[in-house]
């Protein structure tokens, strides 16, 4: 290994980013960007969580007056927008950003500056959304924002403009990130990592990215049409002018249902990453799990009308969508049975990450079992828009995505900080979250059956709703305390936790071959992979780089990574990687100006910002005598 030493010195030099404000603003390191996504997303989790706690206080008992109806409507609208677009998607992108290059043996994402741009735009859009708080004009027509309630007749204020422009804005970030994931995953895997050796977590991120690319345009289109209708006199949705309100619902849910899956898919990938490590054996049914992930992504595009079973659509359409909605349960079930088989055959070790995964399986199964009930048209027509649906999708999304995210925090934070989280407090956090979650969301099934509609700021006594609502509020606070325990644990452990070493769990995938935290260049030598579980089958892998005789490539210590072929990952090209750049941030600032100008109708300001955006793009692509990403 001493033979690598000169190359490693070159690597240190070539990849070094000098700490300080300059590199803070210009970094293109996927690990720094990934952590930013995580931390920012978790701050939005706190914001969205506080919104839900305030709503729960209002709903503790019938006829309370903690909130006026307008504030309640703003809170539940922003709770949905925040949790979907500013917490779940970015945090899962954050894990992907941090981990995908490490898991596939690359030195960075394919387009590092696009990666930085994606984060900055996400931050800009998040701030854009919440700037509405300063003027007390948070979006108030729900995250689903149905017309005509959201048109200029019934929502004259700027609330809905914050929503529509904010979603178009944040969509730029999600799209950029997804394209980056697709190219990185398909073209930058370490030699030997053919598609059938790719970690399932990476498959999950790929499924998410592909879903985004095909689903998001529908949402962006819907919001462009809505803004044209609201502010430029177009008529797409208003029936009095020949529009069709259901057009919005179709466009929204053609995006909206895949959105649910694109949150769950990478989260299922987290579970699939953790289970083999803690069952001490390879996953049983790898191929089935991968096919199932892809099947969910695909079928997810054919179920949107089950959000519209009560709108009076023709029966034949309802029947078709009912069938696909039943069938989408199958690939979810396949994954669950594959995990169960792996746990049954292996030796499950209930460290905190695995405990969160076990809890996730329980909750996801409950959410999966109420799914077919909502696929059955007549039953859906009874309980849709009641608390039964609220229960269902929180089991799927909070149980199915947030619990894996917390499992991922306990599993991978040691890789990021070099220190393990405290195990005992981790378990305390899990049990508080698990108990609190069920106390909060299980009674919602019953409230829905008892006829309580969702999205109501208050309710009357005497319908059998009071006691269960009280339970839910108690559960919400227990859940919140559980989440808080993990945050404190994380901050405390980052400084005082037990040192993790490079591979604290004896994991099977390549991220455990790097130091904790990884070097700026990730791998001293880009490894050659000969197994689906390289860390278990290739003892030469470790933080000191795979020796050249085993296939390790330092690429001469330059600022390069390796491009490989799509299916078999055969080496094709040594790709020079771009350095730090101010342009992603500057372009984001310009775009923020563009969207702000649109919002407040400041056209001169808007024009200046648009010119600045063009200049930023030109600066980004300006030839500098070195090969740049395109």
């Amino acid at each position: 290994m001493t033979t690598l030493a000169p190359d490693i010195e070159h690597l240190e030099e070539a990849w070094h980013e000098t700490p300080g404000l300059g590199s803070f603003l210009t970094t293109v390191d996927h690990k720094r960007i990934g952590k930013r996504y995580l931390y920012t997303g978790l701050i939005f989790l706190v914001i969205g969580g506080v919104e839900s706690l305030v709503m729960r206080i209002q709903l503790t008992h019938s006829n309370l007056h903690v909130l006026d109806p307008e504030t309640y409507n703003q809170l539940f609208s922003m709770h949905g927008v925040t949790m979907m677009f500013l917490f779940a998607t970015p945090v899962l992108s954050g894990f992907g950003n941090y981990l995908v290059p490490l898991m596939i043996g690359a030195r960075d994402m394919a387009f590092p500056r696009l990666n930085a741009f994606g984060y900055w735009v996400f931050l800009g859009a998040g701030l854009f959304f919440y700037s509405s708080f300063l003027v007390h004009r948070l979006p108030d027509a729900g995250w689903f924002n149905y017309t005509p309630l959201s048109d200029s007749v019934y929502s004259a204020g700027p609330n809905v403009d914050f929503y529509a422009l904010g979603l178009i804005f944040v969509g730029i970030s999600t799209t950029a990130g997804s394209i980056n994931f697709i190219v990185t995953i398909l073209k930058m895997r370490a030699p030997g990592m053919s598609l059938d050796r790719m970690p399932i977590f990476v498959w999950g991120e790929l499924a998410m990215a592909l879903t985004v690319v095909f689903a998001l345009p529908a949402l962006t289109l819907a919001n462009v049409l809505l803004e044209l209708e609201r502010r430029a006199g177009f008529h797409f949705f208003a029936p009095a002018s020949g529009g069709q309100p259901l057009l919005w619902q179709h466009l929204f849910w053609i995006f909206g249902h895949p959105e649910v899956y694109l949150v769950v898919l990478p989260a299922l990938g987290i579970a699939s990453a953790i289970i083999p490590t803690f069952c001490r054996r390879p996953m049983i049914g790898y191929t089935y799990i991968v096919l199932a992930e892809m099947a969910i992504a695909l079928i997810g595009f054919g179920v949107w009308v089950h959000h519209m079973f009560a709108t009076g659509l023709p029966a034949i359409g309802l029947g078709f969508i009912s069938l696909t909605s039943f069938l989408v349960v199958i690939p979810s079930g396949v994954q669950i049975f594959a995990w169960l088989a792996t746990m049954w055959a292996g030796k499950p070790v209930l460290r905190t990450p695995m405990l969160f995964v076990a809890g996730f399986i329980i909750l996801f199964v409950i959410g999966g079992l109420s799914g077919p009930m909502l696929a059955a048209v007549p039953l859906d027509q009874q309980v849709t828009d009641s608390y039964f649906v609220v229960a269902h999708f929180h089991y799927v999304l909070v149980g199915g995505a947030m619990f894996p995210i917390f499992a991922g925090i306990y599993y991978w934070a040691p890789k990021m900080t070099g220190r393990l989280l405290h195990e005992g407090w981790g378990k305390v956090s899990f049990w508080l979250m698990f108990v609190g979650f069920n106390l909060l969301f299980f009674p919602m099934h019953i409230l829905g059956l008892r006829g309580q509609p969702r999205r109501t700021y208050t309710y009357q006594a005497g319908h059998g709703w009071d006691f269960l609502n009280l339970l839910e509020t108690v559960g919400a606070f227990v859940l919140a305390v559980g989440i808080l325990v993990t945050f404190v644990n994380w901050v405390w452990s980052a400084k005082k936790g037990q040192p993790a070493g490079h591979d604290p769990w004896r994991g099977d995938t390549l991220e455990w071959a790097t130091t904790s935290p990884p070097a700026e260049y990730n791998f001293e030598a880009i490894p050659t992979v000969r197994s689906r579980e390289p860390m278990w089958d290739q003892p030469e892998l470790g933080p000191h780089g795979q020796p050249p005789e085993a296939g390790g490539r330092t690429l001469g210590g330059g600022h390069n990574t390796l491009g490989t072929s799509l299916l078999e990952a055969e080496p094709e090209v040594v790709a020079p990687m771009p350095h730090e750049s101010p342009w992603p941030l500057l372009l984001t600032l310009a775009l923020t100006g563009v969207f702000t100008g649109l919002l407040v109708r400041a056209w001169v300001f808007w024009a200046v910002a648009a010119v600045a955006a063009v200049v930023s793009v030109a600066g980004w692509f300006w030839p500098r005598g070195e090969t740049q990403e395109t």
């Binding site: 079930g333 669950i336 792996t342 055959a345 070790v349 059955a376 509609p453």
Partner: protein
């Protein structure tokens, strides 16, 4: 396929052993999940209580849906018990295993995934799909031949009800018990959704289209419902009451509703006609012909005011007229300032409109 020395010790680099905290494999499974299931089942069994419950049906449509719900609940509970049981058992077995045993081949694994995950799950799901499709068709077809059509029009935030004989009411629908009634659903503004859980599925009211729903109550009684599609500030207080009368009573009621209430020309009528009330409300047989708000011709015969926000009583009516915004913030009705004697006369007049 797996390391020779599997264990959770950190490999190499001689740092602290995170696992030596002694907790390897000793993660305990408290009884909490079991308690949850028990509590859950107990709570679910209580789902039938309450005056708006989907699972205490009072009409054939709701009966049909409840008949779909119970088998699905039973199967779901069985599947959950199996999966959760297997999970717990796998964890319990794992504690007694050596790591060598964990590495062993599992030839049953993939067949198990296919059989449990695809074949059995698929059969159950397709079975329920066909079952629910049958119920959907039956529900649609049994609504084909209705004799009576009632129009229900959603407004922010109240319900307008129109009968074929010209009778107009609000926030209460009278129907004959044991008879299928067709509801023609429309909206005057945003999307609303008509839902009376004990009588059957909901249907949205969407601008620019007319949806239909058939409604039948098996026996006379009062069935509560409320708007199920978010429609703005007072979505929470858009409550509807379906009053099922014996058919003969219904016929009498509908006939009476088509005419003005018993002649009454006390001072209250004058107040109503000369103050702002008449700008928005109609009382047939008087000069008050506003159409923005509910028709009040037989207002005194209703049980609630403000679309169910309060029970109708002289005291509540007085509060409502003086300051509706304190009771239903955002409702279109403005506060009204009246002298005490005017207010008393107005309340007495409205209460008398039966």
């Amino acid at each position: 396929m797996y390391p020779e020395t599997v264990g959770l010790e950190p490999a190499g680099d001689g740092k602290l052993d995170p696992v030596s905290t002694g907790r390897v494999g000793s993660g305990r499974w408290p009884a909490a999940p079991v308690v949850f299931v028990a509590v859950g089942v107990a709570l679910a069994a209580g789902g039938c209580t309450g005056d708006s419950s989907v699972v205490s049906p009072k009409g054939p449509a709701a009966h049909s849906v409840a008949g779909l719900w119970w088998p699905m609940l039973v199967v779901a509970t069985a599947v959950f018990t199996l999966v959760a049981g297997m999970l717990l058992l796998a964890a319990a077995r794992g504690r007694r295993k050596t790591e060598d045993q964990a590495k062993g081949g599992a030839p049953w694994g993939e067949p198990f995934i296919v059989i449990a995950g695809v074949v059995v799950s698929g059969a159950i799901l397709v079975g329920f799909f066909l079952f629910s499709l049958g119920r959907m068709r039956a529900l649609a077809e049994s609504g084909r031949n209705t004799k009576l059509t009632v129009s229900v029009i959603g407004h922010d935030w109240w319900w307008e009800v129109r009968y074929p004989n010209g009778a107009v009411s609000a926030n209460e629908i009278h129907i004959p018990a044991g008879v299928k009634v067709r509801l023609a659903l429309a909206t005057d503004d945003v999307i609303h959704s008509f839902w009376v859980p004990r009588l059957g599925p909901k249907t949205d009211m969407i601008p620019g289209q007319e949806n239909t729903l058939w409604l039948e109550a098996s026996e006379p009684g009062i069935y509560r419902g409320q708007c199920a599609e978010f429609c703005g500030l007072q979505h929470a207080n858009m409550i509807i009451r379906v009053v099922a009368d014996a058919p003969a009573d219904f016929d009498r009621w509908m006939a009476a509703q088509a005419h003005p209430a018993a002649p009454s020309d006390d001072a209250g009528r004058g107040v109503f006609e000369t103050q702002t009330c008449a700008g928005c409300h109609r009382i047939r047989g008087t000069a008050a012909q506003g159409t923005a708000g509910p028709d009040l011709t037989h207002f005194g015969g209703r049980a609630t005011l403000g679309a169910g926000v309060l029970p109708l009583s002289p005291e509540n009516l007085r509060r409502w007229i003086v300051d509706p915004q304190a009771i239903k913030p955002g409702a279109p009705m403005p506060p009204t300032t009246l002298a005490a004697d005017q207010l008393n006369a107005l309340v007495a007049y409205l209460e008398g409109l039966r």
